[in-house]
């Protein structure tokens, strides 16, 4: 009894630090939801106060003026394109690089690491000119493919570690039975790395969903706006009504938070496996 009290006393300063940091992490998010239910004058009077009456009308207006209907549809199409393209191209490449049976494996790895750290500004401007010439500006699928290419090196590196984790006997046994490389990859290896595919899909999907620089540059017609761009268009129209603006932010935040809470395990795995060197 005494020991546990002593221990909890020793934990006290640390607990205070954790609670204060949790408070700073959550306060801005809390302010979003709090103020999304208030009228404009209420927000201006005191952003920290609770609303007098719950005013859900802000959500209706935000949805209408940010065109979230179109925005979410475009975001889903863009994110889906990115995830699909990344998984289809990264999985076979990661398999080859994990096998290391070809001599080009090493230079390809070096190339991918350089590609991962190249500033977007280094290839953005010529790419924009080419896409403009090809009539691909404001095309969500085209933007999804660009974002896929940017996320590809990270995805390959992550997936490679998952392929390395498969016991060698598994594909070898199948090869003995006469399966070719495609069959082994399709029926043996891909099912074995499916947790990796999910992890990479989540990480890349989140990157695509939250992406800003490429989207704002390439998506110019309002009908091609993603949810994030639609939300930004609110800041022009509703610069005075912070309540509507915060309702828009809440609409954008909510699905991400729910998805994150559901998939946090895979998400944390993905963050860690790319960065922790054991």
């Amino acid at each position: 009894m005494r020991k546990s009290r002593e221990q909890s006393l020793r934990m006290m300063p640390g607990n205070v630090v954790l609670v204060v940091l949790a408070f700073t992490a959550l306060l801005p998010i809390f302010l979003v939801f709090l103020n999304s239910l208030k009228t404009a004058p209420e927000v201006v009077r005191n952003p920290l106060a609770f609303p007098a009456v719950l005013d859900w009308g802000n959500y209706v207006e935000a949805w209408k003026y940010a065109k979230f209907g179109t925005g979410f549809k475009n975001s889903v199409l863009l994110t889906g394109t990115t995830i699909l393209v990344v998984l289809l191209t990264a999985a076979p490449a990661a398999y080859v690089l994990a096998e290391r049976k070809i001599k080009a494996a090493r230079p390809v790895m070096v190339y991918l690491m350089v590609a991962m750290t190249v500033p977007i500004q280094l290839f953005l401007f010529p790419l924009y000119a080419v896409f403009a010439k090809a009539g691909l500006i404001s095309n969500v699928f085209a933007v999804g493919i660009i974002i896929a290419a940017i996320n590809l090196p990270l995805a390959i590196m992550l997936l490679r570690t998952f392929f390395l984790g498969i016991p060698k006997e598994l594909p070898e046994a199948a090869t003995m039975d006469g399966a070719n490389t495609f069959q082994v990859l399709r029926h043996i290896l891909l099912p074995a790395v499916s947790p990796g595919l999910i992890t990479v899909g989540i990480i890349v999907g989140l990157n695509a969903w939250n992406e800003y620089l490429i989207s704002v540059t390439f998506l110019q017609s309002e009908s091609s706006y993603t949810a994030t761009l639609g939300f930004l268009s609110l800041t022009g129209t509703f610069a005075v009504d912070q309540g509507v603006l915060m309702a828009g932010a809440a609409i954008l935040i909510l699905p991400i938070v729910v998805l994150f809470l559901i998939a946090q395990r895979s998400f944390v795995d993905g963050l860690v496996s790319g960065s922790v060197k054991g």
Binding site: V118, F125, A149, L152, P153, F231, V268, V272, S275
Partner: protein, 311 residues
């Protein structure tokens, strides 16, 4: 593809060597086929336009005209002579130093705290990661409107209560720190998760041995945990350096490089050349300078993670 033969003999216990050799040869040719889609995608979006940027940086291309003139090193000389370029470079360095210290210290400190708190660990980890998973767009707008705004934000509220605090974003000396604070608020949870995972891989025997020898918490941290997570720390250092030189979203969303270029970064400087004044040549030159920093970073990065990849 002559190297294929050299690799094939690695297969041991081949009963029929010549037959085996041909099937293996085909198998490895398939490997190039499997690698091709990823490489073609990456090269056509990143490498080829990147090389094109190198070419554009010595022309006066405006992004539309198909017959740009060769101007030699003019773009480079002009941007080096531009005081805004130096401001941007200085700001990128300030940004790098801020991110190499504050989020690293908080992330590592909190990781150590959570290491001992097995039960509450998961909950805190989720809370600290929430800002990280949210879009830069929403994070920036929330801080801009709900905290920094002198009209509707917490700052404005404090002003109405009689505290005379100006919005840090409108002050040339504080604006960069105000933006960095938001980006760090969003970012440090990522470092925490990575450091915590690395700390948890520290061999338990080493910790116990140190405890038996009577080492205190600080000594255990300094002599056992820190050496154990050194590779991860180094990798994160390089990653932070690279991303600090590429930083764009929060600056562009919150200040657009202002007031009076006081938060200008190389990335926003390049972007405004390309899309505000259509000087693609100059934008390309700034992009090349950024690429140079990126290359130095990626050489460091390749060296470090290459070591790990080779096991």
């Amino acid at each position: 593809m002559a190297q294929v033969e050299a690799v094939a003999p690695v297969i041991k216990n081949a009963r029929d060597k010549s037959a085996k050799k041909t099937t293996n040869k085909n198998r490895y040719r398939v490997h190039y086929l499997l690698l091709a889609p990823a490489l073609i995608l990456s090269m056509s979006i990143v490498l080829v336009p990147g090389a094109f940027t190198a070419l554009t940086s010595v022309t006066d291309w405006n992004g539309i005209d198909m017959s740009p003139n060769f101007v030699g090193a003019d773009n480079y000389l002009e941007i080096f002579g531009d005081p805004v370029f130096l401001t941007a470079l200085k700001n990128n360095i300030i940004w790098t130093l801020l991110f190499l210290t504050i989020p690293v210290a908080i992330g590592l400190g909190v990781a150590m705290l959570l290491l001992k708190r097995k039960r509450s660990r998961a909950v805190f980890q989720v809370i600290f990661l929430l800002p990280y998973v949210m879009a830069a767009v929403t994070n920036a707008m929330v801080w801009l409107n709900m905290i920094y705004s002198p009209i509707s934000g917490v700052i404005g509220f404090l002003n109405k209560q009689g505290f005379n605090i100006p919005s840090p974003l409108t002050n040339m000396d504080t604006a960069i720190y105000a933006v960095a604070a938001v980006d760090m608020w969003h970012y440090w949870g990522f470092l925490l998760v990575v450091y915590l995972a690395a700390l948890r891989q520290t061999p338990i025997e080493q910790i116990e041995a140190a405890q038996i020898e009577g080492a205190n918490s600080w000594q255990i941290f300094r002599n056992v945990y820190l050496p154990s997570i050194k590779p991860t720390m180094q990798l994160m250092f390089v990653m932070i350096m690279i991303f600090s030189f590429l930083t764009f979203d929060y600056i562009f969303l919150m200040t657009q490089g202002g007031p009076a270029h006081s938060t200008e970064m190389l990335s926003t400087f390049a972007y405004s050349f390309a899309f505000a004044t259509f000087q693609f040549g100059k934008a390309a030159a700034v992009g090349m300078v950024m690429g140079l920093f990126g290359l130095v970073g990626s050489i460091l990065y390749t060296k470090m993670s290459g070591k790990a990849a080779d096991e």
